[in-house]
Amino acid sequence: MGENLGEVFSQDYEGHPLATLPLGSRIHNYRDIALVISVADGSMPTYWVEYAQARYDVKIVAALTAVMVTSYIPYLESHQLTGIVAGLRGAAEYEQLLSAPGAGSRGMDAQSAIHALIAVLIVAGNVQAWRKRRSRIGGGGNQ
């Protein structure tokens, strides 16, 4: 693909030859691509980094689900990724950047409320565990 896209994908899904497509006639390999935006819920951005960025220096931006974000931050820090849209929060930030609030910004209200609830539950759970341990020590138990 780095040398000639047409050798790997000679036609699109519907059988049209690549050269007859508006984009296909202008883009022959990675050198013709200014930016790749990988919208992914799997490891696809890793493949883009390994095969397109590392070998051909193509700029990659990844729109990720939140669970993937911490695995991709090192690539962002090392400039192997040009940018990251980090889950729902990233989607909301992008909407704010465009001054076009939508589903992402709307979802962040619920997201923030649930995060606050989870934080309260974590604190409550730890307080309860601490009290249990304290009462056990106070009762003379050592197990």
Partner: protein
């Protein structure tokens, strides 16, 4: 989406969520439907976009080299016949050898060399120093051939703290991800299906 599509999707969503009340036939039906559809879809896409245009069509034009990958693919299926299962090793060896040849240099550069260079070059700022200390401390934690005592033990303990921060951040992002999925489903059920929510 039509009303029929929306209702079918909503009922399947509810069937999946019914697992919260325990395993049940509705959940099993939705689960099996998902697996079956995924396999069927993948099979059709592979046949239509790979096997047909890249193997069958060239063969009809007399391009016999395209028979080679087709035969190698068929050899893998021989694993299903215990007597001839050994033949599948030829294809697997080619897949593993070719895959390793393509992947190892790319992975080595992207995941090791470029990351090492970025870590070393980042020491011009405080954040860069913290990353460097974190990397070195975490690496010492994974050296199990040396006792974690003294300075080495302190470094390993610092590495453990760095990993705890990473796991905490990953857990928080995982929660965010799962909640986002729930929000999406609730928006669909209460908006698209029931019409209670308006966008």
């Amino acid at each position: 989406m039509s009303l029929l599509e929306t209702t079918t999707t909503a009922l399947l969503t509810l069937a999946i969520y019914s697992f919260l009340a325990g395993d049940n036939p509705f959940y099993k039906f939705a689960e099996h439907l998902l697996v079956g559809l995924t396999i069927g879809y993948t099979l059709v896409i592979t046949l239509k976009s790979v096997i047909w245009p890249q193997a069958i069509i060239p063969m009809t034009r007399g391009e016999m080299p395209s028979l080679v990958p087709l035969l190698l693919g068929c050899l893998i299926l021989l694993r299903l016949v215990p007597r001839w299962a050994g033949w599948s090793r030829i294809s697997l060896a080619l897949v593993v050898g070719g895959g390793a040849g393509v992947a190892i240099p790319a992975m080595l550069k992207a995941r090791v060399l470029d990351q090492m260079a970025a870590t070393a070059n980042g020491v011009t700022s405080w954040a860069g120093w913290i990353i460097l200390i974190g990397v070195l401390a975490t690496l010492t934690y994974f050296v199990f051939t040396r006792a974690h005592r003294g300075a080495w033990g302190t470094s390993a303990r610092i590495g453990r703290y760095f990993m705890m921060v990473f796991f905490g951040a990953t857990f928080a992002y995982t929660v965010m991800s799962r909640v986002a999925l729930l929000i999406g489903r609730l928006e669909f059920l209460m908006g698209d299906w029931l019409g209670i929510l308006r966008s």
